[in-house]
Symmetry: C2
Subunit: 454 residues, 2 copies
């Protein structure tokens, strides 16, 4: 992601651009759902939480896994030209010195001389928001990287940073990956993992947090082809969100103006989503030029070039980077899926998550808690579980259980009833249409696969 923190930190509200019409979830509704149903909890909540970090509960863990897995599937598994990487979080200061993060990955901060609170200078209206004092210090630059020490002594030799982006891992490993995988340009290196930024103003639930998860890909191209690939990746990344159920009207591509571009980028566009607070960034697609590879070649003294066997020339590739936030993508999928409709004359909360994202793909519901159904329910589950994430829900009325599964986005419910003992068939109920069909248990896996688009 962009080493200029402004791009992540300062455009939380993009002014008055209208967001699309239609039912839109509020942040409060999403936070409530997440807490009530176990998607996301404030971290260590029994101790009062901790500095805007979050713990993902059973449903959130599964949803976040699915978001990351779908990204990996689309960026690595289905492609011929992209391979994966999983670099360390603890990194050498040399990496951040060469990349420019040590010098310029900063926010301007001021101190209030009255109450000693510290604030972002560019967010202040001239007085301390806490005590109202106008007695503020000059702004000083504050580096957003978390630092620690790796080793038994706390000195320069053991200083380490938690990576503020995964991207640099791809640049420092460029030559090793290109050599061991014998790749020709263009090719990409993809990574999913945690990054850490000591944001002064975390906000909007999991949209901006100090600890967050990124899905970044660096696509190395011949310099002459960079513009073409930039367009290609803007298009591809927009399509990915649409393919997983975000309506096109809730997405837009916003090209950065010349004054907004990072110093190393000749073109950047943000994929934006209509969040409840306005259009905001889901991911950035940037033409990073040869800035990073040249910076690390200089910093390390190693050659970070591509040797074209056909032309016999060495070239420093340009890089096109689609850099997405997994946690904010998850939040966008939740917001877009949140719906209330009417079923049987009653209001119904339903999470219309794409079937590849839903935490549970199938819920198996015995019509009654009676012991006579239990063996068949277990048999049905043992057939489904090797293929699908399944929930078993036995308590309360079948109607209540359908609603519970609707609210967490389970696409299919499979009901086992007393007839099932006779006809070896079960009822499949669809989340979106609420339609029910009877299916022989022998065909269940195939039928569920087909309905889930497998």
């Amino acid at each position: 992601m962009n080493p200029d923190p402004e791009s992540q930190a300062s455009r939380s509200h993009l002014g008055s651009d209208a967001i699309p019409d239609g039912r839109a979830a509020t942040v409060e509704e999403i936070v409530n759902l997440c807490k009530r149903r176990g998607f996301i909890f404030p971290s260590a909540e029994i101790y009062g939480g901790f500095r805007s970090t979050y713990d993902y509960g059973p449903l959130g863990t599964q949803l976040l896994r699915n978001v990351k897995d779908q990204w990996w599937r689309s960026m690595v598994q289905l492609r011929d030209d992209v391979v994966g990487l999983d670099a360390a979080i603890l990194t050498s200061p040399k990496v951040w010195e060469a990349s420019g993060h040590l010098e310029s990955f900063t926010d301007p901060l001021v101190d209030c001389r009255q109450c000693h609170e510290r604030w972002r200078a560019d967010k202040l209206a001239g007085s301390c928001p806490r005590c109202g004092s106008k007695d503020l210090t000059e702004a000083r630059e504050f580096n957003l990287m978390f630092s620690t020490h790796a080793g038994p002594v706390e000195d320069e030799s053991t200083l380490a940073y938690l990576r503020p982006e995964t991207a640099q891992g791809m640049f420092v490993n460029f030559a090793a990956v290109a050599t061991t995988t014998r790749r020709s340009l263009p090719f990409g290196i993809a990574q999913v993992g945690k990054s850490f930024r000591n944001e002064i103003t975390p906000q909007n639930f999991v949209f901006r947090t100090r600890e967050f998860e990124q899905m970044e890909m660096e696509y190395f191209v011949p310099p002459a082809d960079a513009d073409k690939w930039f367009e290609y990746w803007c298009d591809e990344r927009l399509k990915w969100y649409v393919s997983l159920g975000i309506p096109e009207g809730k997405l837009r591509l916003r090209h950065h103006g010349p004054d907004e571009l990072s110093h190393y980028s000749t073109a950047t566009a943000d994929v934006e989503f209509a969040f409840p607070w306005g259009w905001d960034e889901l991911e950035g697609v940037a033409n990073r030029t040869d800035y990073d590879l040249k910076a690390h070649a200089k910093g390390s003294g190693e050659r970070l070039e591509y040797f074209d066997q056909q032309s016999g020339e060495r070239v420093v590739p340009y890089v096109i980077e689609p850099a997405a936030g997994a946690t904010r993508a998850m939040m966008a999928f939740l917001i877009a899926a949140f719906d209330v409709d009417e079923v049987g004359g009653e209001s119904r909360s339903v999470l219309r998550l794409h079937q590849r994202l839903a935490p549970y793909e199938v819920a198996v519901l015995p019509l009654s808690k009676k012991d006579s159904l239990a063996p068949l329910v277990s048999e049905v589950l043992s057939k489904l579980r090797p293929h699908f994430m399944c929930d078993r829900d036995v308590t309360q009325s079948i109607g209540r259980r359908y609603r519970r599964q609707d609210e967490i986005g389970t696409p299919l419910c499979v009901t086992v009833d007393f007839d099932s003992l006779e006809d070896s068939a079960v009822t499949i109920r669809d989340r979106d249409t609420t339609e029910q069909v009877r299916v022989p248990i022998d065909h269940l896996v195939a039928e569920v696969s087909a309905r889930l688009g497998r």
Copy 2:
């Protein structure tokens, strides 16, 4: 994992216990393979590496993903009684105060007064290994948690630790998870994620590193049933490694003696693997009793109990914890899979990885680089890629390419030749038997699925 670092840190060599006979990879062979083929690189190697951290290259990333996914599949997806969690790495000091880590997660260190190097006291033979001086300080306890600051000022209020184990995330979220998922005892909470320990002596490649990845599950049971579940989980976890291809003879269960048990545990057993340096720990299975829940109940003032609706009683569950290291499991799978045999009178390096672990499941190889085969190769890949991780390899002789795929453990090669243009069939070649069969392209996905045991 065990908050007593000794259990992870001090038993790297278990004495003279014989390890099984047969071809066994050396650490050097594994390190060489990992570097040459892009499984694992020293982190930021262009800068000379960094303090025993590692970056996983394309093949290592995929293998590690598969190890973690198979754990998740076995522990969460296939089970009725375990749900997932994904807690934050940055954690409140209150968590570590209550858990006992702040006070006792330490190693004893001594300084050499001559050369100022710092050493583990329990590893020294009375003189400095670097300069030979016997002028050493008294041992002092050194906490193994990495600390940092989350927020704009570096003081007590912003102090944070990088979690040294994922387990505490399950304990502090116990009540939230139990409530939102409406679980009865016994039930478990599983988590996969990074942990950080400031080890003084990282060693044996990725076996012991400061940054590592855990796969931990806390299984909450009625206290009276704890012994039974402890036995159950020892058995289950051994079986998991066997099910993924580690020979039974290279695994053993070692029960801790009374003097070796942590203060909170009434029973602990290590699943050990025959590493090249001797038997060593893959994972620990521990009866942690009610120690952790009681400690956090006391620390937070919250009730961390289970209310049994049938008996009307409140109980603090006991916890059985199978705690595995993902990175060391990956290393064990690599070592166990490493083999050299003879094919066609020539020596062959082959990685006999289980098909669920292999980085690539299928390699698609055109017999010739001629353009006439390219469209059909793309067609075959587009059929296979939605279902399997595929590699396309076009350079050098077909024999060389088979060897290359054998060396990285790809179970199946699919060869497209000039006959394929006529008969719409391809050849599937098996890694282990090297047998080849002709299969119609229309049946290819089904045939590959069957051979991969899907």
